[in-house]
């Protein structure tokens, strides 16, 4: 998989900013099929930082109803990446 296909977009959320200040974690929405190793490679190459750990999680699609039809949103993969102390990614620095 090409590294530019691995990362979908950065996530900037309330929890994300807390994690950033607590342990230098950054969060991304990533390709469902990407594994931790691919994510590590992609983040290191694209943002020119060194990655200590990668945690991933599959966020289940939530049920949605539209009138009488029911369905659910797509499931997606969230990746939490801990960077080496001192490294940073500009887009997370206060958006």
């Amino acid at each position: 998989m090409d590294i530019y296909q691995v990362i979908d977009k950065p996530l900037v959320t309330e929890k994300g900013t807390t994690m950033l200040s607590d342990g230098n974690w950054v969060t991304f929405k990533v390709n469902m099929d990407a594994n931790k190793i691919q994510i590590r490679e992609a983040v290191q190459k694209i943002f020119n930082v060194s990655v200590l750990r990668v945690n991933t999680q599959i966020v289940r699609g939530t049920r949605r109803r539209f009138g009488r039809t029911t369905g659910h949103t797509k499931a997606w993969k969230k990746a939490m990446v801990q960077l080496k102390e001192g490294d940073k990614i500009e887009i997370f620095e206060g958006v």
């Binding site: 996530l11 959320t13 309330e14 900013t17 620095e93 206060g94």
Partner: protein, 450 residues
């Protein structure tokens, strides 16, 4: 807070003010906290956006109002501390706002015109000669005659009676200038009384000696400005005295009737009809009326003298901004008068640009006087109260035949005219104060020679 004052001109100061760092930071943080509650951002609950994130999204420079308020506040405090008394609009230098930082003190400067120091020391106990108004018998008789004439009866005089002074004539007339009939100078069955001087100068005198039924012509020198409609306005029109030759008009007159007014004897009945119980009371009332009128005139005259004297003693040049405001106000007042008299601005011959130049002198004179009065008011602790304002509204309403609320609304809606009104009232109050503190040397009025 740090500040220092630079003296630019005699009445111009530059205030350099520094707002301390903590104050700036505190204000900015407060503003962000408030903004946080109102802003929505995906990924964050309302009010929970970290300030760091918010600062990137909303730069500090966008809090223009905040800094304006902050500067205003510190400016006022600085004024209070330095004791400067500003007049006109201050000029606040905003350039410091461009690169404002949260953790740095904010420096800015204000250029302002100040009111001059009180230089007029001897405004108390000014010495004036005051004419002790005496109502002469002649004046009294004249007034009495006017009262009586209201109850008099008209007698038609025989055809061979030549018109005399005080006769009442009925005439047709038509005025001509250079053989062209004049507009508005034509009337049929016009009644006038010789000697009342309601007509053009010399018009009435030339009627004396003519008899009823005669037709004749008279020549009258027209006053300057006779054909300008602006006569109805009390201000001098700028440029009015240009190109006015003595115009001579010819009036064709047909004398129709000569009447004489016969005055009745002053009786108790007439006194009663005028609303008095006895003849003596009527006489007394007329006398008191005349006396008051004279006293008032004398008071006005002295007040004018006071004003002139104040202006003379006040040798500081008023700041440009104040002069300009005064000229503007005069022009506005003029426009208002023109509008009130039902004319269009273009027809009146009034040119604001011309007026600006010609009234400058007068405006400087006025502003000097106002400033002198103001500084005295300051020294004597004279203030304008709400009651004074209401009184002024009522007076204006009465003068212009409008509703009090309308006047109030008109004045309140324009800060300039509100300012002007308070200045005017303050001036009047101060003037009364000075007047009541004057020393008068009374002298008797010399009887008018005749």
């Amino acid at each position: 807070m740090e500040y220092d004052v630079e003296e630019l001109e005699e009445l111009k100061r530059k205030l350099n003010i520094t707002i301390p760092e903590e104050e700036v930071t505190r204000r900015v943080n407060d503003a962000y906290r408030k903004l946080n509650q109102e802003m929505k951002m995906p990924g964050f609950r309302p009010g929970k956006i970290p300030q760091k994130v918010l600062e990137k999204q909303v730069p500090m420079q966008s809090f223009g109002q905040l800094f304006q308020d902050l500067m205003q506040e510190y400016y006022e405090e600085a004024l209070h501390k330095t004791g400067l008394r500003p007049t006109g609009q201050p000029e606040i230098d905003h350039t410091g706002l461009q690169d404002i930082k949260k953790n740095e003190p904010l420096k800015f400067s204000v250029i302002l015109d100040i009111k001059p120091e009180l230089k007029i020391k001897n405004y108390k106990g000014l010495k004036f000669k005051k004419k002790e108004a005496v109502v002469s018998d002649k004046e009294f008789e004249e007034t009495l005659e006017k009262v009586l004439s209201r109850h008099g009866s008209l007698e038609l005089m025989p055809a061979d009676h030549a018109a005399e002074k005080w006769d009442i004539l009925k005439i047709d007339f038509q005025g001509f200038v250079e053989d062209q009939p004049m507009e508005n100078e034509k009337a049929d069955d016009f009644e006038l009384r010789i000697g009342e001087k309601k007509m053009l100068d010399g018009f009435e005198d030339q009627l004396i000696g003519h008899k009823a039924g005669e037709e004749f012509e008279i020549k009258v020198i027209l006053p300057p400005n006779w054909n300008k409609k602006t006569q109805r306005i009390s201000f001098p029109i700028p440029g009015a005295d240009e190109e006015q030759a003595d115009d001579r008009a010819t009036f064709k007159i047909k004398l129709k009737e000569v009447k004489q007014l016969s005055l009745p004897e002053l009786t108790a009945e007439i006194a009663k009809r005028e609303g008095f119980d006895t003849v003596d009371e009527l006489r007394r009332a007329i006398k008191v009326d005349l006396q008051n009128h004279k006293d008032q005139q004398e008071e006005l005259k002295i007040k004018e003298d006071i004003f002139n004297r104040l202006v003379k003693e006040f040798d500081t040049m008023p700041p440009e901004s104040v002069i300009e405001r005064e000229i503007k106000f005069m022009i506005e007042g003029m426009k208002y008068q023109i509008a009130q008299s039902g004319m269009k601005l273009e027809d009146s011959g009034f040119e604001p640009e011309k007026a600006e130049k010609e009234w400058r002198e007068k405006a400087i004179f006025n502003t000097k006087g106002y400033m002198a009065l103001e500084s005295i008011a300051q020294a004597e602790n004279i203030h304008v109260t709400q009651q004074d304002m209401e009184g002024e509204y009522e007076l204006l309403a009465k003068q212009t035949n409008q509703k009090v609320e309308d006047i109030q609304k008109r004045i309140m809606s324009n800060p300039d005219s509100l300012n002007q009104t308070t200045t005017k009232i303050l001036g009047q109050k101060t003037m009364n104060f000075i007047y009541s503190n004057c020393e008068f040397e009374f002298y008797k009025e010399e009887p008018p020679k005749e």
